[in-house]
Symmetry: D2
Subunit: 409 residues, 4 copies
């Protein structure tokens, strides 16, 4: 295989990808371009620049970009249009960020004439798949370097030793053993895996959670929110229109304050194993039932059921890394088409971990017709006698079968 | 059409079905058999007996039966094996009771040589469909009388006038306008529809809820439960084995105490309209995530996904009244087969409306293999290099397509 | 219910709808507008005009329209994009014509300020449902008159008597008992039901078939066709570009000549019964495998599988009359999106009932990459070693389960 | 990784697996057990014994087994219960044989205390996946040797050179270039891939086909068959009950004689590429429509539709090698459950490539009720007026939506 000349590295600024940055240069003797994306993980990303410079990256090869709005507008919100949940529980906070990083990595590779991309995901997880499927789909000849599948620095000790040996700055926390958890954060969620959590029977420690207070310590007073939707997307909170990422940020604050959005689960990874994960998704946990509620009065029944039937498949596609696949795009066409009618508002009440939908309406698209549904006299809007024929014909096939069964006895 | 000789009436003991009991005798000149079932609705059912006697029913034609255990064991629990939820929210509390009533109505019709059954469901709702599809499936030649679709007593005033005229006892509450809501209750839930709720934008009144305290007034201290499952069914709470209906009753108490299980939604009825409903399902709201949690470590990924893909269809079948259909039975075969492995325990924490799964394990059936999933050294249990080939082949079709797209530009 | 002023009748020119035309005027005392559509059924439709005039229809109220091109272009071809087959066999020839007739009936009702539509479909079949669901979806307040569900002319004798009594011309064939079959024809197919066919065990008589010769009497020499597709639609035969309906007409001739497209089946009607039907669909029977073949080299695997998974649902929607439903439109969005890549040609061989695909290719969109698939040396286009990892990770969940099972023994 | 002691080789007796037999001994220095299965491929398998002996295999290590009955009874017939077709065309003839070979390989490995299995499938195809997923599922610690992914004998020339060098007998046909096609045969089909077929635009040569005459050269007289089914399986032909494999063999003869069962397609392999394949499946091509036909009168509509909806998924599982997966087993439970009612007979006419169903009936399980479906007077079996209510309620949601749309304009 031909040599690699230039590689774009998804660089977080942390220890692991700093080691990779050095290792790439030493192992592949290639130029390295670093790409650090702000997806709302809440860290100071400019700190990555001096680190990269110090480890030999040319100033022009350091890309630090704020992708927060694109992330929420073009990835998170489209996904929520489908009420997407993986395995009944997981809101796909990590999964949905990867395709954007993959896309931007490839764009930077194209800009810088790089022939490879590199990432710091391990060989056991889903993220390697998500990065690489995206990269291959967007640039089929790209070379991919996944150091965790190649090198022998498979323990924390070896990694630290390599860092010390090569002059890579190591923060005190890493020397002391680092965080007890493997974490990932962006505007949609923060995740925790590993260590203590590897025993699925053990309760997560309260000290682990970072974005939400516990329900117990959340305020004693409930808070109501009015959420406004247009074409299935949240556009305003309490009447205030904001860009997508600011809306989600605001929901995160509110959810976090009210102890909303913690989840503790065992999930099935695409690579074949079960894995325990804990997640905080405060804003998403508010958004999901609110979106369902606005759909509940604006979507046709069969359209809603079609979406529900397809959702698990769509969720698996995202979880497994197929955001850039043609089948995800085809499903998105259908989903987006249905959302043209999803306009209106939803009122939710936040209280100590609860998100309670208390009202919903649509001035333009409500299919709720109280003149028909009423228990009172409906002035002929609905002829109850129609129901007899409806039931009789729906029962016909079962009656024929039952008559046959009776004859046979 | 031939005359009706004897009709079995699903008799609640309330005003509506008392009027029906009289109306049936007067209109069809037929003998009436009353059937009153205890499904855990929490009312004194023996009160129905003197009422029926007073209105001319022969003592031998009054059936009052405790179906609580059968209801939970053979209907509720099988449904929960599929993690069944209708339209993302509704736990099908009313829907799942109807097929049992239909079945027992038909059995009593067979026992008493009746040629008809009658019920008090209106012509706008789902319940008429559920009763009648069940009845037709189990006895294809049965005659069905649905007075609400036939008579002209379509307002409360006319109903009361009829009652007074025919000597049917009317309780004070009915004279005063009756309950503001149309309600239905059984061991799985209590439901509210109508009146104030007919405006989907209006918040439900706190005074409406009957089974649960509000999260605000629930205890300040959380409570942990250990739930034990065998073949997908709950068999013990905190180590205490109980019959199915007692387990669900216990969960209802605990859920109600902790403000768990209120839901407020707009649903799509089978008869074609949208309808606002509020439900309290305290026990079911605990059971659902607990069942998901025990499945999460005992079910194979693809089996779990297959179940998730089929669930909305299974839920619609139950919602629409097809419990006794051959397609529901076929799906149940698949579902039940998968549950043989669903054995183990789940720990949940109840707190002010929250049901939080904090741990789960299975001594016999756990597919969670921490030696593989671990972030630590796995001693060769998993070869990370395998992932490269896995990704490459999964990406192949997208790479071929991308190469074609590139050539075309 | 208010009186009907003016009704648009779907008028074939035949005996049944002629009787209806008269009956409508006599029964409803309403003005009648007749609508006769040429969908390629192969009859002289202008003959309907003098008949209508004779029975009292105003000249300006007689609509005779050639809808052949719209029918094939906007209904048949979109349906074939999904490889649509109902219950594995039926190409939906009748079903796909009804929504166009419903649409045009409503348009004419709007043009003529009519408040009702009427049709000649019986109360046992699917066509009433297809007409009426379409009509209601396109004009929700339309009144629908279905004489077969209302009148008492339920036998042929009564119908003939009514005709004679009211001066409706009766052709000799009707006096002699009429056709032994209930038939329907359009550019996609001709159908036969009833009489002799009501015994599902009995073979259809050779004399019944009208559009195709039998395979036995078809030419002894095969004929090859080159079919060209653009965006999933047939656009040319043997290099000759023609409008959609002329292409289908040409395929019908060719198929008919070669004994292609007879089918004999028992289908499940939406109204709940099983029904024996025989169909001739010569052109469609050529088109279906040809479309599949061009998709086979141009569609991504997972997109193709997604379409296959959704096809039965889409087929049922069309069969059941839901062409104008929002869920059909949503599915069509997905389907049409996938067809942008479906460009190329297919060669088929027609011979005595057989349609044999013998070659296919696409100059612009072929995803067939012989450098990868080859059994010969591929010069590194595909690394066979990748397969080991692919298999290992796909097997992982089953290995973990098997290890657990082994430990348990 | 520890050394391999003993490997079970799936040994066809042909050149490739003879070379593998030698190569295994030389490369892994392991004992080799050969397993040669008769699946109806129509070759003399005992010829494999002296070959194996000559190449150093111990007499007790040579397994030659007749698996034909098990193959058809436990693999082919269960698959046909689902009307299984992959990608609309392929009857899975190769796919369905692999799981049986995998199972028996593992059983022999267990019997002989072998720690590995080896096969001759290439690294580009589906068969490696099918063998290995089966093997891993049945014995998770098995070692798998796939020489085509490991060695460097990647051209025919190298293979022949290796054979000559190691004293492996080479037949004249191989010296002359061997068959122009890669072939696989068993009782269900024979397949052709490679060479000339690698151009999807090129018609297959007539000389390629081995099991069927061409429709052109098939007899001029049609032949009728009566096929009898019990629980969804074929049990008798023309009244003669035979074991499963003899029935399929008989259908193969009849189909082959009448030019039935050739198919030429481009399929999507699980490993990610498109591939051109030609198949002869004479018996299966008769069996499939016959099974559909007997289902058409014995299966409930919704059960049949459920099966149709699940079929593509079931087909993909088999195609991709997941026969031994828990999800295939779960689906099989559902499928088999539905087949209890699938009893009766079907008459088919075979003529020059055509399989024409001309009649079907069931003495015990027919749901076809001609008293209801009839176009004649049904004496009240079905009330046509019921259809009005049926349609009205099914239309209700669309009418509400249309009214909203009208108001908005």
């Amino acid at each position: 295989m031909s040599q690699i000349r230039k590689a774009v590295l998804a660089y977080s600024g942390g220890l692991d990808t700093s080691v990779i940055m050095k290792w790439l240069q030493d192992t592949y003797h290639c130029e390295v371009v670093t790409f650090t994306a702000d997806l709302g993980q809440g860290e100071e990303l400019e700190a990555a620049r001096p680190k990269a410079l110090k480890l030999g990256i040319a100033a022009g090869n350091i890309y630090i970009e704020d992708l927060r709005e694109e992330f929420v507008r073009d990835f998170v919100f489209p996904m929520f249009r489908a009420n997407t949940v993986y395995e009944g529980e997981y809101l796909l906070g990590t999964s949905i960020a990867r395709p954007l990083i993959a896309k931007r990595m490839i764009e930077i590779a194209n800009l810088t004439a790089a022939d490879a991309v590199a990432h710091g995901a391990t060989g056991k997880g889903n993220d390697q798949v998500r990065f690489e499927l995206g990269a291959y789909a967007l640039r089929p000849d790209i070379r991919i370097i996944a150091p965790w599948r190649e090198w022998d620095l498979l323990s924390r000790e070896k990694l630290l030793a390599y860092a010390e040996e090569h002059g890579i700055p190591v923060e005190m926390k890493h020397r002391q053993g680092g965080s007890p958890y493997s974490m990932d954060a962006n505007l949609l969620h923060i995740s925790y895996e590993g260590r203590h959590l590897e025993d699925p029977a053990a309760e997560a420690e309260e000290s682990m959670w970072r974005w939400t207070v516990s329900p117990e310590t959340a305020p004693d007073a409930a808070e109501y929110l009015d959420l406004e939707f247009e074409c299935g997307d949240l556009v305003a909170i309490n009447g205030q229109r904001l860009p997508a990422h600011e809306l989600l940020g605001r929901l995160n604050e509110l959810g976090g304050k009210h102890g909303i959005g913690r989840i503790d689960l065992v999930e099935n990874r695409y690579v074949g194993m079960k894995s325990r994960g804990c997640y905080e998704t405060p804003g998403g946990t508010i958004l999901l039932p609110a979106h369902r509620a606005i759909e509940s009065i604006t979507l046709d029944r069969e359209v809603a059921h079609l979406k529900d039937d397809l959702m698990p498949r769509y969720a698996s596609l995202i979880y497994n890394g197929y955001w850039w696949s043609p089948e995800r795009l085809a499903l998105q066409k259908l989903i987006d088409h249905t959302q043209r009618a999803v306009n209106g508002w939803v009122r939710v009440k936040l209280y100590k971990g609860n998100v309670i939908v208390v009202g919903r309406d649509s001035a333009t698209d409500s299919l709720f017709d109280s003149t028909i549904a009423t228990f009172e006299d409906d002035a002929g809007a609905y002829d109850q006698k129609d129901a007899a024929g409806f039931i009789k014909l729906n029962a016909l096939r079962m009656r024929i079968a039952a008559r046959l069964a009776a004859r046979r006895q």
